[in-house]
Symmetry: C2
Subunit: 301 residues, 2 copies
Amino acid sequence: MTQRKVEAAGNGWVGVDWGTSSLRAALLDGAGRVLEQRQSARGILSVAAGEFPAVLRELCGDWLAAGRLCLISGMAGSRQGWLEAPYCECPASRDDLARQLAWVDPGRIAIVPGLVCHHGGVPDVMRGEEVQVFGAMELLGVHDLVAVLPGTHSKWVEVHHGRIVSFATAMTGEFYALLRRHSILARTMDEDDGSLDEAAFVQGVKHAQRTGNLLQSAFSARTLALFERMPRAAMPSYLSGLVIGEELRSHYVADARGFVVIGAPELAQRYTLALDASVRCLGAEATWRGLASIAQSIGKP
Amino acid sequence: MTQRKVEAAGNGWVGVDWGTSSLRAALLDGAGRVLEQRQSARGILSVAAGEFPAVLRELCGDWLAAGRLCLISGMAGSRQGWLEAPYCECPASRDDLARQLAWVDPGRIAIVPGLVCHHGGVPDVMRGEEVQVFGAMELLGVHDLVAVLPGTHSKWVEVHHGRIVSFATAMTGEFYALLRRHSILARTMDEDDGSLDEAAFVQGVKHAQRTGNLLQSAFSARTLALFERMPRAAMPSYLSGLVIGEELRSHYVADARGFVVIGAPELAQRYTLALDASVRCLGAEATWRGLASIAQSIGKP
Protein backbone atom coordinates (compact mmCIF):
# COMPACT_ATOMS: atom_id res chain seq x y z
CA MET A 1 0.00 0.00 0.00
CA THR A 2 1.20 3.46 -0.78
CA GLN A 3 1.88 6.06 1.89
CA ARG A 4 -0.84 8.18 0.33
CA LYS A 5 -3.47 5.49 0.91
CA VAL A 6 -2.46 5.03 4.55
CA GLU A 7 -2.80 8.73 5.10
CA ALA A 8 -6.18 8.72 3.38
CA ALA A 9 -7.25 6.06 5.90
CA GLY A 10 -6.85 8.54 8.74
CA ASN A 11 -6.70 6.50 11.87
CA GLY A 12 -8.74 3.64 10.42
CA TRP A 13 -8.45 0.16 11.90
CA VAL A 14 -7.52 -3.40 10.95
CA GLY A 15 -9.83 -6.40 10.57
CA VAL A 16 -8.43 -9.93 10.49
CA ASP A 17 -10.17 -13.18 9.52
CA TRP A 18 -7.85 -15.93 10.77
CA GLY A 19 -9.10 -19.37 9.89
CA THR A 20 -7.78 -22.90 9.92
CA SER A 21 -6.10 -22.73 6.55
CA SER A 22 -5.98 -19.04 5.60
CA LEU A 23 -5.31 -15.59 6.99
CA ARG A 24 -6.91 -12.46 5.55
CA ALA A 25 -6.54 -8.88 6.74
CA ALA A 26 -8.18 -5.62 5.72
CA LEU A 27 -7.47 -1.99 6.43
CA LEU A 28 -10.80 -0.26 6.97
CA ASP A 29 -11.93 3.29 7.49
CA GLY A 30 -14.18 4.53 10.28
CA ALA A 31 -17.29 3.73 8.20
CA GLY A 32 -16.19 0.10 7.74
CA ARG A 33 -15.15 0.56 4.09
CA VAL A 34 -12.30 -1.67 2.94
CA LEU A 35 -9.29 0.39 1.84
CA GLU A 36 -6.96 -2.51 1.20
CA GLN A 37 -6.91 -6.28 1.63
CA ARG A 38 -4.08 -8.77 2.02
CA GLN A 39 -4.01 -12.50 2.52
CA SER A 40 -1.63 -15.36 3.17
CA ALA A 41 -1.70 -19.13 3.55
CA ARG A 42 -0.70 -18.89 7.22
CA GLY A 43 -3.89 -20.41 8.64
CA ILE A 44 -3.67 -21.36 12.32
CA LEU A 45 -2.70 -24.95 11.50
CA SER A 46 0.58 -23.63 10.04
CA VAL A 47 1.40 -21.35 12.98
CA ALA A 48 3.25 -22.64 16.05
CA ALA A 49 2.27 -21.49 19.54
CA GLY A 50 3.92 -18.14 20.26
CA GLU A 51 4.38 -17.24 16.59
CA PHE A 52 1.00 -15.59 16.07
CA PRO A 53 2.15 -12.00 16.76
CA ALA A 54 5.05 -12.36 14.33
CA VAL A 55 2.88 -13.85 11.57
CA LEU A 56 0.38 -11.01 11.93
CA ARG A 57 3.17 -8.39 11.85
CA GLU A 58 4.59 -10.02 8.75
CA LEU A 59 1.26 -9.62 6.93
CA CYS A 60 0.27 -6.14 8.10
CA GLY A 61 2.81 -4.81 10.59
CA ASP A 62 2.83 -1.48 8.71
CA TRP A 63 -0.89 -1.02 9.35
CA LEU A 64 -0.51 -1.91 13.02
CA ALA A 65 2.58 0.26 13.56
CA ALA A 66 0.42 3.36 13.57
CA GLY A 67 -1.27 2.11 16.75
CA ARG A 68 -4.50 1.12 15.05
CA LEU A 69 -7.16 -1.09 16.62
CA CYS A 70 -7.08 -4.69 15.33
CA LEU A 71 -10.06 -7.07 15.65
CA ILE A 72 -9.52 -10.74 14.82
CA SER A 73 -12.23 -13.31 14.21
CA GLY A 74 -12.10 -17.04 13.46
CA MET A 75 -10.09 -19.99 14.68
CA ALA A 76 -7.31 -17.75 16.02
CA GLY A 77 -9.48 -17.75 19.16
CA SER A 78 -9.52 -21.54 19.48
CA ARG A 79 -7.40 -23.73 21.72
CA GLN A 80 -4.97 -24.31 18.82
CA GLY A 81 -4.89 -20.57 18.05
CA TRP A 82 -3.30 -17.42 19.44
CA LEU A 83 -5.33 -17.24 22.63
CA GLU A 84 -8.37 -19.30 23.61
CA ALA A 85 -11.31 -16.89 23.68
CA PRO A 86 -14.09 -18.52 25.73
CA TYR A 87 -17.32 -19.13 23.80
CA CYS A 88 -20.13 -16.66 24.29
CA GLU A 89 -23.52 -18.25 25.12
CA CYS A 90 -26.53 -17.92 22.80
CA PRO A 91 -28.68 -15.92 22.50
CA ALA A 92 -26.02 -13.31 21.78
CA SER A 93 -25.99 -9.85 20.22
CA ARG A 94 -23.01 -8.07 18.68
CA ASP A 95 -22.76 -6.09 21.94
CA ASP A 96 -22.46 -9.36 23.89
CA LEU A 97 -19.57 -10.36 21.62
CA ALA A 98 -17.97 -6.91 21.99
CA ARG A 99 -18.14 -7.13 25.79
CA GLN A 100 -16.36 -10.49 25.76
CA LEU A 101 -13.47 -9.66 23.44
CA ALA A 102 -10.25 -11.45 24.39
CA TRP A 103 -7.55 -8.75 24.36
CA VAL A 104 -4.07 -9.96 23.48
CA ASP A 105 -2.78 -6.36 23.56
CA PRO A 106 -5.20 -4.37 25.72
CA GLY A 107 -6.90 -1.57 23.83
CA ARG A 108 -5.07 -2.55 20.61
CA ILE A 109 -5.50 -6.16 19.48
CA ALA A 110 -8.51 -8.32 20.40
CA ILE A 111 -9.94 -11.69 19.39
CA VAL A 112 -13.70 -11.98 18.95
CA PRO A 113 -15.11 -14.95 20.92
CA GLY A 114 -17.00 -17.76 19.20
CA LEU A 115 -20.52 -18.83 20.14
CA VAL A 116 -21.88 -21.91 21.88
CA CYS A 117 -25.45 -23.19 21.99
CA HIS A 118 -26.97 -26.45 23.17
CA HIS A 119 -29.16 -29.09 21.51
CA GLY A 120 -30.58 -31.60 23.97
CA GLY A 121 -27.71 -30.94 26.36
CA VAL A 122 -25.05 -31.34 23.67
CA PRO A 123 -22.99 -28.25 22.81
CA ASP A 124 -22.54 -26.85 19.31
CA VAL A 125 -19.93 -24.24 18.50
CA MET A 126 -18.74 -21.80 15.85
CA ARG A 127 -15.90 -19.31 15.50
CA GLY A 128 -15.90 -16.64 12.84
CA GLU A 129 -19.28 -17.34 11.29
CA GLU A 130 -21.06 -15.30 14.00
CA VAL A 131 -19.18 -12.18 12.85
CA GLN A 132 -20.28 -12.78 9.26
CA VAL A 133 -23.90 -13.13 10.39
CA PHE A 134 -23.80 -9.81 12.25
CA GLY A 135 -22.25 -8.31 9.12
CA ALA A 136 -25.04 -9.76 6.98
CA MET A 137 -27.67 -8.16 9.22
CA GLU A 138 -26.04 -4.76 8.70
CA LEU A 139 -25.61 -5.22 4.97
CA LEU A 140 -29.21 -6.36 4.52
CA GLY A 141 -30.61 -3.92 7.07
CA VAL A 142 -32.54 -6.61 8.96
CA HIS A 143 -32.77 -7.87 12.53
CA ASP A 144 -34.35 -11.25 11.75
CA LEU A 145 -32.72 -13.77 9.47
CA VAL A 146 -31.84 -17.36 8.76
CA ALA A 147 -28.34 -17.73 7.35
CA VAL A 148 -26.38 -20.70 6.09
CA LEU A 149 -22.59 -20.53 5.87
CA PRO A 150 -21.78 -23.55 3.70
CA GLY A 151 -18.50 -25.36 3.99
CA THR A 152 -16.69 -28.34 5.46
CA HIS A 153 -18.85 -27.76 8.52
CA SER A 154 -21.85 -25.71 7.41
CA LYS A 155 -23.43 -23.45 10.00
CA TRP A 156 -27.17 -22.77 10.05
CA VAL A 157 -27.85 -19.66 12.10
CA GLU A 158 -31.12 -18.19 13.36
CA VAL A 159 -31.28 -14.49 14.16
CA HIS A 160 -34.19 -12.95 16.02
CA HIS A 161 -34.44 -9.30 17.07
CA GLY A 162 -30.78 -8.78 16.29
CA ARG A 163 -29.54 -11.68 18.39
CA ILE A 164 -28.24 -15.08 17.31
CA VAL A 165 -30.69 -17.29 19.17
CA SER A 166 -29.56 -20.67 17.91
CA PHE A 167 -27.40 -22.40 15.35
CA ALA A 168 -26.50 -25.89 14.18
CA THR A 169 -23.52 -27.45 12.46
CA ALA A 170 -23.94 -29.83 9.53
CA MET A 171 -20.80 -31.67 8.41
CA THR A 172 -21.95 -31.38 4.80
CA GLY A 173 -18.65 -30.59 3.09
CA GLU A 174 -16.77 -33.16 5.13
CA PHE A 175 -19.30 -35.92 4.36
CA TYR A 176 -19.06 -35.03 0.67
CA ALA A 177 -15.27 -35.37 0.79
CA LEU A 178 -15.42 -38.65 2.74
CA LEU A 179 -17.90 -40.22 0.32
CA ARG A 180 -16.21 -38.70 -2.73
CA ARG A 181 -12.69 -39.85 -1.86
CA HIS A 182 -12.81 -42.73 0.60
CA SER A 183 -16.07 -44.66 0.13
CA ILE A 184 -17.18 -47.33 -2.34
CA LEU A 185 -18.82 -44.49 -4.31
CA ALA A 186 -15.37 -43.15 -5.24
CA ARG A 187 -14.87 -46.19 -7.47
CA THR A 188 -17.42 -44.98 -10.00
CA MET A 189 -16.19 -41.38 -10.15
CA ASP A 190 -13.27 -39.81 -11.97
CA GLU A 191 -10.48 -38.06 -10.09
CA ASP A 192 -11.64 -34.62 -11.22
CA ASP A 193 -15.03 -33.25 -10.10
CA GLY A 194 -15.54 -31.54 -13.45
CA SER A 195 -18.12 -28.80 -13.84
CA LEU A 196 -21.48 -28.86 -12.10
CA ASP A 197 -24.13 -30.98 -13.83
CA GLU A 198 -27.24 -29.13 -12.72
CA ALA A 199 -29.75 -31.86 -13.60
CA ALA A 200 -27.78 -34.53 -11.72
CA PHE A 201 -27.34 -32.18 -8.76
CA VAL A 202 -31.09 -31.50 -8.51
CA GLN A 203 -31.83 -35.23 -8.90
CA GLY A 204 -29.56 -35.85 -5.88
CA VAL A 205 -31.26 -33.14 -3.83
CA LYS A 206 -34.69 -34.62 -4.52
CA HIS A 207 -33.64 -38.19 -3.81
CA ALA A 208 -32.09 -37.19 -0.48
CA GLN A 209 -35.17 -35.27 0.58
CA ARG A 210 -37.54 -38.07 -0.47
CA THR A 211 -35.45 -40.75 1.26
CA GLY A 212 -34.86 -38.80 4.47
CA ASN A 213 -31.68 -40.55 5.51
CA LEU A 214 -28.24 -40.13 3.95
CA LEU A 215 -27.19 -43.63 5.06
CA GLN A 216 -29.75 -44.90 2.56
CA SER A 217 -29.84 -42.22 -0.12
CA ALA A 218 -26.03 -42.34 -0.57
CA PHE A 219 -26.31 -45.94 -1.78
CA SER A 220 -28.28 -44.71 -4.78
CA ALA A 221 -25.01 -43.31 -6.19
CA ARG A 222 -23.79 -46.91 -6.20
CA THR A 223 -26.84 -48.45 -7.84
CA LEU A 224 -27.29 -45.70 -10.45
CA ALA A 225 -23.70 -46.42 -11.52
CA LEU A 226 -24.26 -50.18 -11.41
CA PHE A 227 -27.32 -49.94 -13.67
CA GLU A 228 -25.62 -47.33 -15.86
CA ARG A 229 -28.42 -44.90 -15.14
CA MET A 230 -26.12 -41.92 -14.62
CA PRO A 231 -23.02 -40.87 -16.59
CA ARG A 232 -19.78 -41.18 -14.66
CA ALA A 233 -19.02 -37.49 -15.14
CA ALA A 234 -22.32 -36.49 -13.48
CA MET A 235 -21.70 -38.51 -10.32
CA PRO A 236 -19.88 -35.85 -8.26
CA SER A 237 -22.74 -33.41 -8.95
CA TYR A 238 -25.30 -36.04 -7.95
CA LEU A 239 -23.41 -36.74 -4.70
CA SER A 240 -23.19 -33.01 -3.96
CA GLY A 241 -26.97 -32.87 -4.44
CA LEU A 242 -27.43 -35.77 -2.01
CA VAL A 243 -25.51 -34.10 0.83
CA ILE A 244 -26.91 -30.59 0.29
CA GLY A 245 -30.41 -32.06 -0.07
CA GLU A 246 -29.92 -33.89 3.23
CA GLU A 247 -28.75 -30.67 4.88
CA LEU A 248 -31.74 -28.69 3.57
CA ARG A 249 -34.18 -31.44 4.62
CA SER A 250 -33.43 -30.78 8.28
CA HIS A 251 -32.43 -27.16 8.33
CA TYR A 252 -34.24 -25.15 5.70
CA VAL A 253 -37.69 -23.81 6.44
CA ALA A 254 -39.21 -21.16 4.20
CA ASP A 255 -39.38 -18.33 6.68
CA ALA A 256 -40.69 -14.78 6.70
CA ARG A 257 -37.40 -13.72 8.30
CA GLY A 258 -35.63 -14.23 5.02
CA PHE A 259 -32.78 -16.49 4.07
CA VAL A 260 -29.22 -15.72 3.02
CA VAL A 261 -26.24 -17.79 1.96
CA ILE A 262 -22.94 -16.38 3.19
CA GLY A 263 -20.17 -17.93 1.16
CA ALA A 264 -18.60 -18.36 -2.25
CA PRO A 265 -20.88 -17.68 -5.26
CA GLU A 266 -20.37 -21.21 -6.64
CA LEU A 267 -21.76 -22.66 -3.40
CA ALA A 268 -24.61 -20.15 -3.30
CA GLN A 269 -25.50 -21.29 -6.83
CA ARG A 270 -26.06 -24.82 -5.50
CA TYR A 271 -28.48 -23.59 -2.83
CA THR A 272 -30.33 -21.59 -5.49
CA LEU A 273 -30.65 -24.75 -7.59
CA ALA A 274 -31.60 -26.95 -4.64
CA LEU A 275 -34.29 -24.57 -3.42
CA ASP A 276 -35.41 -23.72 -6.94
CA ALA A 277 -35.59 -20.11 -5.83
CA SER A 278 -33.51 -17.00 -6.03
CA VAL A 279 -31.30 -16.91 -2.94
CA ARG A 280 -29.49 -13.87 -1.57
CA CYS A 281 -25.75 -14.35 -1.31
CA LEU A 282 -23.08 -12.44 0.56
CA GLY A 283 -19.34 -13.01 0.54
CA ALA A 284 -16.25 -11.68 2.33
CA GLU A 285 -17.83 -8.25 2.76
CA ALA A 286 -19.95 -9.75 5.57
CA THR A 287 -16.81 -10.46 7.63
CA TRP A 288 -15.48 -6.88 7.41
CA ARG A 289 -18.89 -5.38 8.06
CA GLY A 290 -19.39 -7.67 11.08
CA LEU A 291 -16.03 -6.68 12.56
CA ALA A 292 -16.88 -3.01 11.89
CA SER A 293 -20.12 -3.47 13.81
CA ILE A 294 -18.21 -4.82 16.82
CA ALA A 295 -15.69 -1.97 16.57
CA GLN A 296 -18.60 0.47 16.71
CA SER A 297 -19.98 -1.35 19.74
CA ILE A 298 -16.77 -0.64 21.69
CA GLY A 299 -16.77 2.99 20.52
CA LYS A 300 -13.90 2.61 18.06
CA PRO A 301 -12.24 3.53 15.91
CA MET B 1 -13.48 -84.45 6.95
CA THR B 2 -13.24 -88.15 7.54
CA GLN B 3 -14.37 -90.66 4.96
CA ARG B 4 -16.91 -91.92 7.50
CA LYS B 5 -18.61 -88.50 7.67
CA VAL B 6 -18.82 -88.21 3.92
CA GLU B 7 -20.45 -91.60 3.75
CA ALA B 8 -22.86 -90.63 6.50
CA ALA B 9 -23.87 -87.66 4.33
CA GLY B 10 -25.20 -89.97 1.71
CA ASN B 11 -25.66 -87.90 -1.40
CA GLY B 12 -26.09 -84.67 0.52
CA TRP B 13 -25.27 -81.38 -1.20
CA VAL B 14 -22.96 -78.38 -0.91
CA GLY B 15 -23.88 -74.83 0.09
CA VAL B 16 -21.51 -71.95 -0.63
CA ASP B 17 -21.61 -68.38 0.69
CA TRP B 18 -19.18 -66.47 -1.52
CA GLY B 19 -18.83 -62.85 -0.44
CA THR B 20 -16.57 -59.94 -1.23
CA SER B 21 -13.89 -60.85 1.28
CA SER B 22 -14.61 -64.41 2.35
CA LEU B 23 -15.66 -67.81 1.06
CA ARG B 24 -17.50 -70.35 3.20
CA ALA B 25 -18.78 -73.76 2.24
CA ALA B 26 -20.86 -76.40 4.01
CA LEU B 27 -21.68 -80.00 3.35
CA LEU B 28 -25.33 -80.52 4.20
CA ASP B 29 -27.65 -83.49 4.40
CA GLY B 30 -31.05 -83.75 2.75
CA ALA B 31 -32.73 -82.12 5.75
CA GLY B 32 -30.44 -79.09 5.53
CA ARG B 33 -28.30 -80.06 8.54
CA VAL B 34 -24.67 -78.96 8.40
CA LEU B 35 -22.29 -81.93 8.45
CA GLU B 36 -19.11 -79.98 7.96
CA GLN B 37 -18.02 -76.41 7.27
CA ARG B 38 -14.91 -74.94 5.68
CA GLN B 39 -13.84 -71.40 4.93
CA SER B 40 -11.11 -69.43 3.23
CA ALA B 41 -10.09 -65.82 2.66
CA ARG B 42 -10.69 -66.15 -1.10
CA GLY B 43 -13.51 -63.60 -1.33
CA ILE B 44 -14.38 -62.57 -4.89
CA LEU B 45 -12.09 -59.54 -4.73
CA SER B 46 -9.12 -61.91 -4.52
CA VAL B 47 -10.22 -64.16 -7.38
CA ALA B 48 -9.35 -63.35 -11.00
CA ALA B 49 -11.89 -63.91 -13.79
CA GLY B 50 -11.79 -67.57 -14.82
CA GLU B 51 -10.31 -68.79 -11.54
CA PHE B 52 -13.58 -69.29 -9.69
CA PRO B 53 -13.98 -73.02 -10.51
CA ALA B 54 -10.41 -73.75 -9.36
CA VAL B 55 -10.80 -71.81 -6.12
CA LEU B 56 -14.03 -73.67 -5.32
CA ARG B 57 -12.41 -77.03 -6.10
CA GLU B 58 -9.49 -76.14 -3.86
CA LEU B 59 -11.83 -75.55 -0.91
CA CYS B 60 -14.24 -78.44 -1.39
CA GLY B 61 -13.37 -80.39 -4.54
CA ASP B 62 -13.72 -83.64 -2.58
CA TRP B 63 -17.33 -82.83 -1.76
CA LEU B 64 -18.11 -81.88 -5.34
CA ALA B 65 -16.30 -84.90 -6.83
CA ALA B 66 -19.18 -87.16 -5.83
CA GLY B 67 -21.46 -85.23 -8.22
CA ARG B 68 -23.33 -83.35 -5.51
CA LEU B 69 -25.53 -80.32 -6.13
CA CYS B 70 -23.81 -77.05 -5.23
CA LEU B 71 -25.77 -73.82 -4.58
CA ILE B 72 -23.82 -70.59 -4.28
CA SER B 73 -25.13 -67.32 -2.86
CA GLY B 74 -23.53 -63.90 -2.48
CA MET B 75 -21.30 -61.67 -4.56
CA ALA B 76 -20.10 -64.61 -6.70
CA GLY B 77 -23.17 -63.72 -8.78
CA SER B 78 -22.10 -60.11 -9.33
CA ARG B 79 -20.40 -58.59 -12.36
CA GLN B 80 -17.03 -58.99 -10.62
CA GLY B 81 -17.86 -62.60 -9.67
CA TRP B 82 -18.01 -66.00 -11.33
CA LEU B 83 -21.04 -65.31 -13.51
CA GLU B 84 -23.38 -62.35 -13.43
CA ALA B 85 -26.74 -63.66 -12.22
CA PRO B 86 -29.42 -61.11 -13.19
CA TYR B 87 -31.29 -59.61 -10.25
CA CYS B 88 -34.73 -61.01 -9.47
CA GLU B 89 -37.46 -58.36 -9.06
CA CYS B 90 -39.29 -57.83 -5.77
CA PRO B 91 -41.70 -59.03 -4.54
CA ALA B 92 -39.95 -62.41 -4.69
CA SER B 93 -40.47 -65.79 -3.05
CA ARG B 94 -37.86 -68.51 -2.61
CA ASP B 95 -39.52 -70.26 -5.57
CA ASP B 96 -38.92 -67.17 -7.71
CA LEU B 97 -35.24 -67.29 -6.77
CA ALA B 98 -35.10 -71.03 -7.47
CA ARG B 99 -36.60 -70.53 -10.95
CA GLN B 100 -33.95 -67.95 -11.80
CA LEU B 101 -30.85 -69.81 -10.69
CA ALA B 102 -27.82 -69.11 -12.90
CA TRP B 103 -26.33 -72.53 -13.69
CA VAL B 104 -22.58 -72.55 -14.26
CA ASP B 105 -22.63 -76.35 -14.58
CA PRO B 106 -26.20 -77.33 -15.51
CA GLY B 107 -27.87 -79.55 -12.92
CA ARG B 108 -24.75 -79.41 -10.73
CA ILE B 109 -23.54 -75.92 -9.77
CA ALA B 110 -25.79 -72.85 -9.64
CA ILE B 111 -25.61 -69.28 -8.41
CA VAL B 112 -28.62 -67.83 -6.63
CA PRO B 113 -29.65 -64.44 -8.12
CA GLY B 114 -29.73 -61.30 -6.00
CA LEU B 115 -32.80 -59.08 -5.62
CA VAL B 116 -33.63 -55.62 -6.92
CA CYS B 117 -36.35 -53.25 -5.77
CA HIS B 118 -37.06 -49.59 -6.50
CA HIS B 119 -37.47 -46.51 -4.32
CA GLY B 120 -38.81 -43.51 -6.22
CA GLY B 121 -37.43 -44.92 -9.46
CA VAL B 122 -33.96 -45.58 -8.01
CA PRO B 123 -32.87 -49.21 -7.80
CA ASP B 124 -31.63 -50.91 -4.63
CA VAL B 125 -29.90 -54.28 -4.70
CA MET B 126 -28.68 -57.12 -2.54
CA ARG B 127 -26.88 -60.42 -3.11
CA GLY B 128 -26.73 -63.13 -0.47
CA GLU B 129 -28.84 -61.46 2.19
CA GLU B 130 -32.07 -62.62 0.49
CA VAL B 131 -31.03 -66.25 1.05
CA GLN B 132 -30.44 -65.55 4.74
CA VAL B 133 -33.89 -63.98 5.04
CA PHE B 134 -35.59 -67.03 3.50
CA GLY B 135 -33.55 -69.15 5.92
CA ALA B 136 -34.68 -67.01 8.85
CA MET B 137 -38.32 -67.53 7.87
CA GLU B 138 -37.82 -71.29 7.96
CA LEU B 139 -35.89 -71.24 11.23
CA LEU B 140 -38.48 -69.03 12.91
CA GLY B 141 -41.46 -70.71 11.24
CA VAL B 142 -42.97 -67.42 10.06
CA HIS B 143 -44.11 -65.92 6.75
CA ASP B 144 -44.07 -62.28 7.85
CA LEU B 145 -40.99 -60.57 9.17
CA VAL B 146 -38.81 -57.50 9.25
CA ALA B 147 -35.11 -58.40 9.20
CA VAL B 148 -31.97 -56.33 9.43
CA LEU B 149 -28.66 -57.73 8.21
CA PRO B 150 -26.15 -55.30 9.71
CA GLY B 151 -22.82 -54.65 8.09
CA THR B 152 -20.83 -52.34 5.82
CA HIS B 153 -24.06 -51.98 3.86
CA SER B 154 -26.90 -53.00 6.16
CA LYS B 155 -30.00 -54.43 4.52
CA TRP B 156 -33.47 -53.87 5.93
CA VAL B 157 -35.85 -56.44 4.51
CA GLU B 158 -39.64 -56.68 4.67
CA VAL B 159 -41.28 -60.07 4.25
CA HIS B 160 -45.00 -60.43 3.72
CA HIS B 161 -46.80 -63.74 3.09
CA GLY B 162 -43.48 -65.48 2.48
CA ARG B 163 -42.26 -63.00 -0.13
CA ILE B 164 -39.63 -60.30 0.14
CA VAL B 165 -41.75 -57.29 -0.80
CA SER B 166 -39.19 -54.55 -0.29
CA PHE B 167 -35.78 -53.79 1.14
CA ALA B 168 -33.44 -50.87 1.66
CA THR B 169 -29.69 -50.49 2.01
CA ALA B 170 -28.17 -48.29 4.73
CA MET B 171 -24.41 -47.66 4.44
CA THR B 172 -24.14 -47.81 8.22
CA GLY B 173 -20.89 -49.74 8.62
CA GLU B 174 -19.19 -47.80 5.83
CA PHE B 175 -20.19 -44.42 7.33
CA TYR B 176 -18.88 -45.59 10.69
CA ALA B 177 -15.53 -46.52 9.14
CA LEU B 178 -15.32 -43.24 7.17
CA LEU B 179 -16.04 -41.10 10.22
CA ARG B 180 -13.92 -43.29 12.51
CA ARG B 181 -10.82 -43.30 10.30
CA HIS B 182 -10.91 -40.39 7.87
CA SER B 183 -12.91 -37.52 9.43
CA ILE B 184 -12.06 -34.82 11.94
CA LEU B 185 -13.68 -37.08 14.58
CA ALA B 186 -10.79 -39.54 14.22
CA ARG B 187 -8.49 -36.98 15.88
CA THR B 188 -10.13 -37.46 19.27
CA MET B 189 -10.19 -41.27 19.16
CA ASP B 190 -7.48 -43.82 19.83
CA GLU B 191 -6.37 -46.27 17.16
CA ASP B 192 -8.07 -49.19 18.87
CA ASP B 193 -11.87 -49.29 19.22
CA GLY B 194 -11.63 -50.95 22.64
CA SER B 195 -14.61 -52.74 24.15
CA LEU B 196 -18.16 -51.45 23.80
CA ASP B 197 -19.09 -48.70 26.27
CA GLU B 198 -22.82 -49.35 26.54
CA ALA B 199 -23.76 -46.02 28.12
CA ALA B 200 -21.90 -44.02 25.46
CA PHE B 201 -23.41 -46.17 22.72
CA VAL B 202 -26.97 -45.57 23.96
CA GLN B 203 -26.24 -41.84 24.35
CA GLY B 204 -25.21 -41.80 20.68
CA VAL B 205 -28.36 -43.65 19.59
CA LYS B 206 -30.58 -41.19 21.43
CA HIS B 207 -28.77 -38.12 20.15
CA ALA B 208 -29.01 -39.35 16.55
CA GLN B 209 -32.72 -40.08 16.85
CA ARG B 210 -33.44 -36.74 18.53
CA THR B 211 -31.40 -34.79 15.97
CA GLY B 212 -32.76 -36.60 12.94
CA ASN B 213 -29.82 -35.93 10.64
CA LEU B 214 -26.39 -37.55 10.81
CA LEU B 215 -24.75 -34.52 9.15
CA GLN B 216 -25.60 -32.65 12.33
CA SER B 217 -25.54 -35.33 15.03
CA ALA B 218 -22.04 -36.50 14.01
CA PHE B 219 -20.64 -33.09 14.97
CA SER B 220 -21.61 -33.81 18.58
CA ALA B 221 -18.71 -36.28 18.74
CA ARG B 222 -16.46 -33.30 18.05
CA THR B 223 -17.97 -30.95 20.61
CA LEU B 224 -18.28 -33.57 23.37
CA ALA B 225 -14.53 -34.15 22.96
CA LEU B 226 -13.82 -30.40 22.83
CA PHE B 227 -15.69 -29.79 26.08
CA GLU B 228 -14.25 -32.95 27.64
CA ARG B 229 -17.73 -34.27 28.20
CA MET B 230 -16.92 -37.81 27.02
CA PRO B 231 -13.85 -39.94 27.74
CA ARG B 232 -11.67 -40.58 24.71
CA ALA B 233 -12.04 -44.34 25.11
CA ALA B 234 -15.86 -44.08 24.89
CA MET B 235 -15.85 -42.16 21.59
CA PRO B 236 -15.93 -45.14 19.19
CA SER B 237 -18.95 -46.54 21.06
CA TYR B 238 -20.68 -43.16 20.94
CA LEU B 239 -20.05 -42.91 17.20
CA SER B 240 -21.36 -46.44 16.68
CA GLY B 241 -24.50 -45.36 18.55
CA LEU B 242 -24.87 -42.33 16.29
CA VAL B 243 -24.83 -44.34 13.06
CA ILE B 244 -26.98 -47.21 14.33
CA GLY B 245 -29.39 -44.71 15.88
CA GLU B 246 -29.62 -42.93 12.53
CA GLU B 247 -30.29 -46.24 10.78
CA LEU B 248 -33.03 -47.20 13.24
CA ARG B 249 -34.62 -43.73 13.01
CA SER B 250 -35.60 -44.37 9.40
CA HIS B 251 -35.93 -48.11 9.22
CA TYR B 252 -37.17 -49.58 12.46
CA VAL B 253 -40.86 -49.67 13.15
CA ALA B 254 -42.22 -51.81 15.98
CA ASP B 255 -44.21 -54.27 13.95
CA ALA B 256 -46.53 -57.16 14.66
CA ARG B 257 -44.64 -59.14 12.01
CA GLY B 258 -41.69 -59.47 14.35
CA PHE B 259 -38.11 -58.33 13.99
CA VAL B 260 -34.91 -60.29 13.68
CA VAL B 261 -31.24 -59.37 13.40
CA ILE B 262 -29.29 -61.69 11.10
CA GLY B 263 -25.63 -61.24 11.83
CA ALA B 264 -22.84 -61.60 14.35
CA PRO B 265 -23.90 -61.71 18.04
CA GLU B 266 -21.77 -58.63 18.88
CA LEU B 267 -23.73 -56.62 16.32
CA ALA B 268 -27.07 -58.03 17.47
CA GLN B 269 -26.12 -56.91 20.99
CA ARG B 270 -25.94 -53.31 19.73
CA TYR B 271 -29.46 -53.50 18.27
CA THR B 272 -30.72 -54.95 21.55
CA LEU B 273 -29.16 -52.01 23.41
CA ALA B 274 -30.37 -49.44 20.89
CA LEU B 275 -33.95 -50.71 20.94
CA ASP B 276 -33.86 -51.38 24.68
CA ALA B 277 -35.63 -54.65 23.94
CA SER B 278 -34.76 -58.27 23.55
CA VAL B 279 -34.03 -58.87 19.86
CA ARG B 280 -33.98 -62.23 18.13
CA CYS B 281 -30.69 -62.99 16.46
CA LEU B 282 -29.70 -65.53 13.84
CA GLY B 283 -26.25 -66.19 12.42
CA ALA B 284 -24.67 -68.32 9.70
CA GLU B 285 -27.32 -71.03 10.12
CA ALA B 286 -29.73 -68.75 8.23
CA THR B 287 -27.55 -68.97 5.11
CA TRP B 288 -27.46 -72.77 5.05
CA ARG B 289 -31.15 -73.04 5.84
CA GLY B 290 -31.99 -70.55 3.09
CA LEU B 291 -29.94 -72.48 0.52
CA ALA B 292 -31.61 -75.70 1.72
CA SER B 293 -34.99 -74.11 1.13
CA ILE B 294 -34.03 -73.25 -2.46
CA ALA B 295 -32.65 -76.76 -2.97
CA GLN B 296 -36.02 -78.13 -1.86
CA SER B 297 -37.78 -75.79 -4.25
CA ILE B 298 -35.94 -77.37 -7.21
CA GLY B 299 -36.68 -80.86 -5.90
CA LYS B 300 -33.13 -81.59 -4.70
CA PRO B 301 -31.20 -83.15 -3.23
